[in-house]
Amino acid sequence: MTSIEFSLDPTSGVPTYLQLVHQVEHAVRLGYLEAGDQLPTVKDVVASLAINPNTVAKAYRELETKGLTVGRPGQGTFIQSTLNPVALPELSGLQRSLLAWLATADTAGLDEDGIVALFANALREFRDRRSGSGVRRGAASDEAEGVA
């Protein structure tokens, strides 16, 4: 029995193999997948999503390179480590406070796009502060926008 069902979003613009990688990472981060859990076989994924087996193999290679999974010949691919040092009770606490914050933002009149933009902005600021490069942020982000 496998513990993850993949699904694809054809409109996201994200390459198929990356969508698979992200879904495993999310499942691990949120505790749905734990060390020792088995990922579906390449053939199972291929038969349910009708995608190229090379794409699934590429996603599984990527996960292995990241150290998240380990392939055991003849047996399959297994979750090796967890990305998530935060325990489940704390996670659900964080989820609750985030939901409360979302309700406040909604009351204040922010729509979904506005919320996403605000969050992305705050995350960027938080990241910059933590890495201590806050001073150079303006110049760096202008440059990045030209390239991105």
């Binding site: 694809l8 613009g13 291929v46 349910s48 009708a50 190229n52 087996p53 090379n54 794409t55 030209g146």
Partner: protein, 305 residues
């Protein structure tokens, strides 16, 4: 190993060249998609490769060097022509019987197991099956021959979305299980994005683009910027297709990634396979080919305006 290799291949019907100076090499282990407008020569190329017709000029070999149409080639290739070729008055059982007797190799166990999974009634006449079931039956018969190369000509044209999905799932599972290489022609670009990892674009009887999908996507970008600056930058960029609107210009460019091609104030984003195919189909003069073959073609056109 190349599953199909063509060298200056040509096919003339009367005074019309359906295929001309066509050179390409499709590597094994891939799902190679053959796309192009109607009349580009897709079916002609596939018919030549599987040995259903002979060439007027040039050569085509399959499965690592076997001449197309030779016994080795015929044994290793299964071909499903357009519109599920079945004898409509035969029952499914009779169709299995016929295919088994006409081929050296036939995996009866696989065929019956697969038809069982699909819920296709064995006693029904094939003409009375649904379009999706007919396509699945033709595919099952082809795969029961245990081919090394599966060639599909417009396999999904007449299928509804669910039948298409199930059809491709069967093809992909065969590839995962038995290392079958696949070459298919298709008009359905959205489906190709999920399955194809090698792309060949045919245009006017010649190869316009050929390569691994990942490489092609990595070497093309869409640049967007103010229309006023467009002409100036177009000269120093390798533009495949340009789209001008009132205020903005979008360039689909080719880049080898070694230099940063984004002019200041412009935005670059990755492209999808569908965008890439459409851009080349709109610009039949532009070409993107692996190394040595490029010299045979005219210089890529600049902005076509």
């Amino acid at each position: 190993m190349n599953v199909i290799e063509a060298t200056r291949l040509g096919k003339r019907y009367g005074s019309t060249w359906a295929l001309r100076e066509c050179s390409l090499a499709i590597p094994d282990g891939h799902v190679a998609a053959l796309v192009g407008p109607n009349g580009a020569g897709k079916t002609t190329l596939l018919n030549l490769a599987v040995g259903l017709t002979t060439s007027t000029a040039g050569t085509v070999t399959v499965l690592g060097g076997a001449p197309a149409g030779s016994p080795v080639a015929r044994d290793g290739i299964a071909f499903v022509a357009q519109d599920a070729p079945l004898h409509k008055n035969l029952s499914v059982t009779d169709m299995l019987h016929l295919t088994r007797n006409l081929n050296q190799r036939f995996d009866q166990g696989y065929a019956t197991a697969r038809l069982g999974e699909l819920g296709i009634p064995l006693d029904r006449k094939t003409g009375k099956l649904s379009g999706g079931q007919q396509a699945q039956l033709a595919l099952t018969l082809a795969l029961s021959r245990r081919p090394r190369l599966l060639v599909l000509d417009e396999p999904m044209a007449s299928l509804d979305p669910l039948a298409r999905h199930d059809f491709m799932a069967t093809v992909m599972a065969a590839m995962a299980d038995d290392d079958v290489s696949v070459v298919l022609s298709s008009h359905v670009l959205a489906e190709l994005e999920r399955v194809a990892d090698y792309l060949v674009i045919l245009s006017r009887g010649s190869v316009q683009v050929a390569g691994e999908v990942d490489d092609l996507l990595a070497s093309h970008r869409v640049l967007s910027g103010p229309d006023a600056e467009a002409d100036r930058y177009a000269e120093c960029l390798d533009v495949v297709h340009a789209l001008h609107s009132k205020a903005q210009t979008h360039f689909l460019i080719r880049t080898d990634g070694s230099i940063n091609p984004v002019p200041p104030g412009w935005k670059a984003r990755p492209i999808t396979l569908e965008e890439l195919v459409l851009a080349y189909l709109r610009e039949p003069g532009a070409a993107s080919l692996p190394g040595p073959m490029r010299v045979r073609f005219a210089e890529p056109t600049e902005v076509a305006q």
